[in-house]
């Protein structure tokens, strides 16, 4: 986490009584990059990251502070629902579970946000979401969408996401106010991880965590493979004899 000026001592004052440790990873004129060793207590580390975000945000010089807790960084969920009330509700439910949320009101806006719909983004005149013209890959850990929406249903959105190269492995969850078994099985068959009946509740949102964690471990796996390769390259060197006899590999 990068903190500025008086923010670091404030964060320290907060975390030390809880027996947590703030470890500076780097120092610069603009502030330090810190790692937080979460304290051994029953409070989830998300509690600390959100509290520290608050502390960082009230830094006196009002410099925008970036919070990236390396212990456990926040998951980003994209929520799609044409109903304003349901959007507000799902946003609150997700934020209560310490997820970062982007909420949009249609499938096409969702695709625009993800950079999957560059054509449509360039042609549209009213975009409430900053259009992703450069097809940049957005970091999204889960997409939760309403089924019944005008123009593009949640099912259509699911298909488009699963067909995309960048996001096909992102877990997708569908919500619906109607209990239609054929609809539910169709969505699950075509790649949706879960199907929630509305109104969505906290107990439903709790079901999201394993999907998010599974996604995260998949992300980390390629790195550990690289490390393994490096080690394998190093070890022959270590076993090379001191006489520097050239070895043919």
């Amino acid at each position: 986490m990068k903190s500025v000026g008086s923010c670091f001592p404030n964060c320290q004052r907060f975390i030390l009584p809880h027996q947590g440790i703030l470890i500076p990873l780097s120092h610069s004129e603009m502030g330090s990059h810190l790692k937080i060793d979460p304290p051994p207590c029953s409070l989830p580390s998300s509690f600390f990251s959100s509290s520290l975000s608050f502390l960082a945000a009230v830094a006196p010089d009002r410099t925008p502070v970036e919070m990236g807790v390396t212990a456990e960084s926040q998951f980003h969920v994209l929520a799609v629902d044409d109903s304003l009330i349901d959007r507000k509700l799902i946003e609150r439910l997700l934020k209560t579970s310490s997820y970062q949320v982007t909420a949009v009101d249609s499938g096409s806006k969702a695709l625009e946000f993800l950079g999957l719909n560059a054509e449509q983004a360039r042609n549209s005149h009213t975009t409430s979401v900053s259009p992703n013209y450069h097809n940049q890959e957005i970091q999204v850990n889960l997409i939760i969408t309403d089924y019944f929406m005008p123009e593009m249903t949640g099912y259509d959105l699911l298909r488009k996401i699963k067909e995309s190269k960048s996001y096909k492995d992102v877990p997708v969850v569908i919500m619906s106010s109607e209990n239609v078994p054929s609809r539910i099985s169709q969505c699950l068959e075509d790649g949706a991880e879960e199907f929630f009946l509305k109104p969505v509740q906290l107990s439903d949102v709790n079901k999201l965590r394993p999907h998010l964690l599974r996604g995260r471990s998949k992300e980390q796996h390629p790195n550990s493979e690289k490390r393994k390769d490096r080690e394998e390259i190093l070890s022959p060197e270590r076993t090379r004899t001191r006489y520097d006899v050239p070895e043919v590999f």
Partner: protein
């Protein structure tokens, strides 16, 4: 009236809303999502519901007043109203919408007109109830008290 009395009145009033079927468990979920960082969440969502619903009811009145009623369109509006009332726990409004949708499916104009009246009635009833509820809450907060948490087991 002192704070303790006001709090008791609020608790009884809220309980009666549940007993009379105006509210269901979903409203409790909403209250659980309200905390110090989002102290007005319930009021905000319920107010949104009122604004949204008034517009929908106007649209419905218009749609049923046409020469050739587009029942699919009417059904879409009712579906939306059913969804939002369900999301905030406005049970009686939601139930009225369920009946309404059946008549839409049957393309029964008289049935629909009757349902519209029913939904409007339920909407204004629950709106009045909420106005009273929020006023009671405001009075308590103004007097320096706090809103007591709902006791789920009390009914």
């Amino acid at each position: 009236m002192e704070v303790g009395q006001m709090q008791r009145r609020l608790a009884e009033f809220t309980k009666s809303m549940f007993m009379e079927g105006f509210l269901d468990g979903q409203f409790l979920q909403l209250q659980q999502l309200q905390d110090e960082s989002n102290p007005d969440f319930v009021v905000e969502v319920v107010s949104l519901f009122f604004q949204d619903s008034e517009k929908l009811l106007n649209d419905l009145t218009l749609a049923l007043d046409q020469q050739n009623v587009d029942f699919k369109r009417v059904d879409a509006h009712v579906h939306q109203l059913k969804g939002s009332s369900s999301s905030i726990g406005a049970q009686r409004v939601k139930n009225a919408c369920v009946v309404f949708r059946n008549f839409c499916e049957e393309q029964n104009l008289e049935g629909c007109m009757g349902c519209l009246q029913q939904v409007k009635q339920e909407f204004y009833l629950v709106k009045n109830k909420f106005d009273t509820l929020f006023t009671l809450e405001q009075q308590i907060v103004a007097a320096g008290g706090s809103i007591p948490a709902m006791e789920i087991t009390s009914f």
